[in-house]
Symmetry: C2
Subunit: 480 residues, 2 copies
């Protein structure tokens, strides 16, 4: 038995304080709707409430917890509120929180199979489950040449896809010799900013990222892609990577994977597909059309931490051929050598991403899938899509507003006919009530409000309430 | 009040199951010493115990938790055991686990100040506290041109340092135009493998990473560094980045920062200092000599998730001039624009690392610092160093063993005089008992065992027990 004297928190104090934190979170779940969704603090206000210096002597955990309500909570913007309609959701859930808790309690490192075999094997297993659950192409299964890994975010997944593609395109010369220029990457004008970030990080340079035009639905135009690739080849450049999106951040546009895939196969380019939020919809057979053509993809990712009730961070990243990824990122210093790795019989996930250390994130994903079951997860996806369609009908029935883009799933972009300034002012007034939170984007040059219906606890009454608030506020602005 | 029907875990079930998980962790803390430290499962054994398909219907949380002991625990290697002497430690603690729990419960995103101001401001504040706590150079404070940010790992911190240096060296041309070759980075032969990984990721290429010789103490030889830089300049190449280490992974060697810093200032190279485990020692004034010369560093990182009782992930990364870092990683797509960001009055941490989304990791760090207090943290650092010195004396008193490198802090490398094969066999026999876990490295060409005394719960009796086991096993091997 360990000695828990001398500053450590004893197991008994942990029991007591653990229950207090569990109770705090349970109360938060019960009351989250009563908070203003968007924090109203001004810059510097939180810091001003904190002491200038760290304490020399330890404090009681009661004292620490007592500071949460007055100091921290005013600076929280409530992503878990059912009135959260901003950005994409970042849902958590009871089973996920408890999975994260257990992972922290076990405190293991999954950098190598050897450093905690369960951490690696549960991850591989659950990611294989998800291939079946989403009906993804079977080449992403770990039983063949592919496989899945949990990354912190789709941004990191995109970077890893780009690195694997870069190494494949240069026959490993860029890893060894460094980049010499000439590599060209492609994504639509609506692709997530992480593609440009990855292109910068990898040394390709943002000028080598071609922005492909989109069609009226803000989806990538494959003809424009094909023409741009041809023009680059004619100039002696080396096209190597295409990032397509299933559910763009701005408007949920779905790039036509089949035609993009044909082009990538013909041109021998790496195709990465980013389905960060929308991939979860493929749990339901009726929404699987969003992945049509995915069999041509070399890599794919979606984020259970967005729409699948698994708290951040949890991005599931798949590759069709893990060798390309591992070749790009693998190193084996002496202090990490071990017989399991050398046997070749195990996966060492540190070779699948940038960091070396890694948490036991598969636990929370396993908990979520088992607690909800496939049927429970499907239920929520369908409910969010239905609520979104209800909202679309209400917006369409109101002659003052226009829907700005197709609504395939759970995101509506719309604007007031009075124009950009009016729409922006409307959104800011609505947000400033604290009753809801929504954000904006630009489509074409137009300022549009976005409502993403994806928060775990959002019910019909929240969507109705948000719409009523928008309508009423617009009315007040029209006739002040 | 939200409706918690339909598959979600209700707050009341969360209360009940949360207590069960807290109890499970408390019991784990009480019994961790009774487990074999290193998991003995064979590859595939954990997966074989898991069902082939995800459940269609949700399961009770009781059923899920009931699987932890039989399915997961056999595959856990116990980083939290007081008999953990392998790699570097990855300590957790009661206050840290509860901070991670609360972070998961609040479920906020800190990508922008705007998306949860408390998440950003608490992080900036606590990282400023740590500058004072470790007596780091004041140019790392956020009040000037520098500042700190939490990264997931030192690997990611090293990559970000390299990217900032790359952009500074090329006047932003590599971000825009891509790399053209010629950039040269430097690290000692004992530097962590993450330097080579970063050089590959960033497109510099591993052939452009110069391996600088070390002295007899395995610390970087500054004369060799200066000569190598000069030779590269003579060849028309562009030296730009030096990574120095305070406490190498292999042997805890401390690179001479003062002399390296002089060279970097003279040559105008970015100096990054990686103090992943050992930085924590600077909590104690008597160990601050390890940072002597740090005022020349452009960036610095250390990991509270190693030796400061804050569970992974929590790497504190500082830059002297945040503009270089932000210039390298910043992008502002329309859907992330907001008035706070545009005012320039706030920090948006998504521009300080690769991922966009980010957890509220400052909570656990704040909890740990407050619960232990500076005095409590110092107590444990001193205790670990004392136990290490005791171990050194015992090894030195035993004529069969040789200490292979200086022991500045809490890591001992040693070998049996009978040679590499004997030492390896000895380590494997000792580990296979499950009573302790230690790992190895190579110093020069010699195979050496490493004992890192840094696990939170390690007491004198654990170190004595480990040494007795090594001695006895060596004796059995000598006269079978």
């Amino acid at each position: 038995m360990s000695d828990f004297s001398t500053f450590h928190m004893s197991p008994d104090v942990f029991r007591e304080q653990g229950k207090a934190v569990i109770e705090m979170i349970a109360r938060y779940m019960e009351t989250v709707e009563t908070y203003p969704v968007m924090s109203a603090v001004r810059p510097g206000e939180i810091r001003a409430a904190l002491p200038d210096h760290a304490p020399v002597t330890g404090e009681s955990f009661d004292a620490i917890l007592a500071d949460i309500a007055p100091i921290i909570m005013p600076g929280i913007t409530h992503w878990q509120s059912p009135n959260w309609f901003a950005y994409f959701s970042a849902n958590t859930s009871g089973p996920s929180i408890l999975g994260e808790l257990l992972s922290a309690g076990l405190g293991v490192q999954g950098m190598l199979w050897q450093t905690s075999p369960a951490c690696t094997e549960l991850e591989t297993h659950v990611l294989d489950w998800l291939v079946e659950m989403l009906d993804l192409p079977r080449h992403f299964l770990s039983s063949g040449r592919g496989g899945g890994v949990i990354q912190d975010s789709a941004s990191s997944a995109t970077l890893c896809a780009l690195l694997a593609a870069r190494e494949q395109a240069t026959s490993m010369a860029s890893n060894r010799d460094g980049l010499r220029g000439g590599l060209i990457a492609y994504a639509s004008s609506q692709a997530h900013s992480s593609v440009e970030k990855a292109v910068k990080v990898a040394g390709i340079g943002s000028a080598q990222l071609r922005t492909i035009d989109t069609d009226d639905a803000f989806a990538m135009d494959p003809d424009n892609l094909a023409r741009t690739i041809r023009r680059d080849r004619d100039r002696g450049l080396t096209p190597f990577f295409v990032s397509a999106t299933v559910g763009t951040t701005s408007s949920n546009a779905i790039d036509p994977l089949e035609r993009i895939g044909e082009i990538c196969r013909r041109e021998k380019l790496w195709l990465h597909v980013d389905a960060a939020m929308s991939g979860t919809a493929a749990l339901c057979p009726e929404f699987r059309y969003i992945h049509k053509g995915l069999e041509s993809a070399d890599s794919y990712c979606f984020n259970p931490h967005k729409w699948m009730f698994t708290n951040f961070d949890c991005d599931c990243f798949y590759v069709a051929d893990r060798a390309a990824l591992i070749n790009s990122l693998s190193l084996l210093p002496e202090y990490l050598r071990n017989r399991a790795t050398e046997s070749g019989a195990v996966i060492d996930y540190r070779d699948w991403h940038v960091p070396l250390g890694r948490r036991f994130r598969a636990l929370k994903l396993w908990f979520v899938i088992r607690y909800y079951g496939i049927a429970g997860l499907q239920y929520h996806v369908r409910r969010h899509v239905e609520l979104t369609r209800m909202l679309v009908r209400m917006i369409e029935a109101d002659g003052r507003f226009v829907i700005a883009a197709p609504v395939p799933l759970n995101l509506v972009c719309f604007y007031h006919k009075a124009g950009d300034a009016f729409t922006r002012e409307l959104m800011e007034r609505v947000n400033s009530t604290g009753k809801v939170y929504m954000t904006h984007t630009k489509l074409g040059d137009r300022f549009v409000m976005r409502i993403c219906v994806a928060q775990s606890m959002t019910e019909e009454r929240h969507v109705l309430g948000a719409w009523e608030l928008i309508r009423r506020t617009a009315g007040e602005m029209e006739s002040p």
